[in-house]
Amino acid sequence: MNDRLRAVSGQIIAVAVALLMGAIIILMVGESPVRVFMTLLRGAFGDQAKIAGTLLQTTPILICGVAACVGLRGGMFNVGIEGQLFLGGFAAAWVGFAFPLPAGIHMLAALALAIVAGAAWVAIPAYFRARYNTNEVVSTILSNYVAVLLTSYFTIFLFKRPGGWSETPPILPTAYLPGIFDFSRLNGGLVIGLVLAIGAALVFRYTSWGYGVTMVGSAPKFAEYGGVNVKRQGFLVLLLSGAVGGLAGGVETLGVHHRFMEGFAPGFGFDGLIAALLANGSPVATIFTALFFGALRNGSLLLEVDTGASREIITVIQALIILSVSAQVLVRRRGDSQAGERRWKF
């Protein structure tokens, strides 16, 4: 408990340090830090619409973050969430516009295909990782590029909405994710994200399977010795991670855009990965890191309108926060020797 308290207060100090550095930068570009931070706060939580907007921004980061957590738990570094998100988004849209189905079933079918698409996209890297120990970081990074280009190809060459922009035809309302408020686009995706995060935490903590997977991630030889099928669980975990990544894309298309747009959501995969890493791989903690990123992002949208500061300033501050928080994590494990730790276990 005491440890945790120290850790949390450490994080807060780290954020404060980053904000201070941010304030200096803001001063340097000739704006008032107070005004900028107040605007940020107003933009993130100013009224119910702003709060809803923040939650809307949080949703994809959260789901991608859970995807990353699932992989990290099993010792798999899924850097390909971005690509899975794009394919999942496209797959959901495709079901949404091409196959008229009854309400409810339509949405579930679309989400299901998004999940399948995400999992399928990571299946080959996962297979090679499990079977031949092929580094999954490399293969998933590379497959991101292919996924984004591929969805662009599908969208523009095969399924383009006639006369329109580079986007698919709109999906049918039967496939929409239900909204939560009528004043916001916030939708059931948030609930899906929260359920996933808490569900993942429970599964990892309270099931035999989750225990096995956790052991595969933290001590693979031990797990193997204990009778856990390390290769199969590794494959499964990466597949699940990809599935959640695909779901993130499906949620975006069905919940917000109601069509697939070429290049619609760059960077969510990486945001999610960072959120998960800052949360130390804990899905529940990822809820908070994702919310933090979502608030920063939504706040920064108002910032650009209400002050002279540009959104890039926020990008810079966000990076500073990540950097100082990441260093903070380390203060806890300062030790005598640098040698003992394996630096990276890819």
Partner: protein, 310 residues
Amino acid sequence: QDKVSVAAISGYFAQGFGVSIVNGLNKAKDEFGIDLKLVDTGNRALDYEEQFENLAKAKQYDLIFVMGWELVDSLQKVSKAYPDQRFVFIDGVLDNPNMIYANFAEEQGSFVAGALAGMIEAKGSEFPKIGDGMAIGFVGGRDIPVIRNFLGGYEQGAKYAAPDVKVNSVFAGTFDDPAKGSELAQALYGQGADIVYNVAGPTGEGVMQASAAVDKYSIGVDIDMCGTAPGNVLASMLKRGDIAVYTLIKDEVEGRKVAAGTRTFDLASGGVEVKVCDDIAPTIPADVTAKLDEIKKAILDGKIEIAKAK
């Protein structure tokens, strides 16, 4: 209401056409002392609607200029939520009767550019730096409808003026990678093209620089690019976003409230034009110049139908 206040929102202020719009806005600001707000949307579709909300909610802007087709969906929603807010959609026409449209006929300008390139290529080695490949090239940014529209006009123009000339077209897949633009252009030059038209934003800058590197020709787009590689830039196909926003703001400032409806910026109105670079102009053979004028006239008279890309 004393002072006119306008906002502009787009993800493309950094690229050719967007730059010309920013130029126009700044000119209006300098001349009329208006309030000006630029909002960069970035490239995440999730952000757009919130950004429109933030702009429209204040109700302080007389006009909001919107550029980029990916914003259309959010724009439609917000314009429904704020029916009193006047939006100017640049570079397209939608089905919304409350909106102001500034529509550009880039295919017309590209047609002329294509005709010019075709005729010069057809001259072969008579013309300096031209080989006998009988091919011209096109480098696009991403393979999206607007860019296809440029390509379509260019191809049709080249075929119209010089039926034997082939048009090789390639896309970089990105507007942000000039190095790739340079490689693409060099590949085209290597395959016999002597003139390459770029519609690729910063990626296209790489095309212009490649034309200087291999000493062939390039054609610029959106803004006057003759200075980027003097002697190697044949012409620039200007898409005068600056004129469009400037005239609209001018109307507004002078009390003629801009009303909903479509304004077309084409060859006829000077909204698009092909400017042959000053250092090249004297070397253009007279028959080419004459034929080019003829073509322009035919377009103005509606004698030439240019198919638009879907």
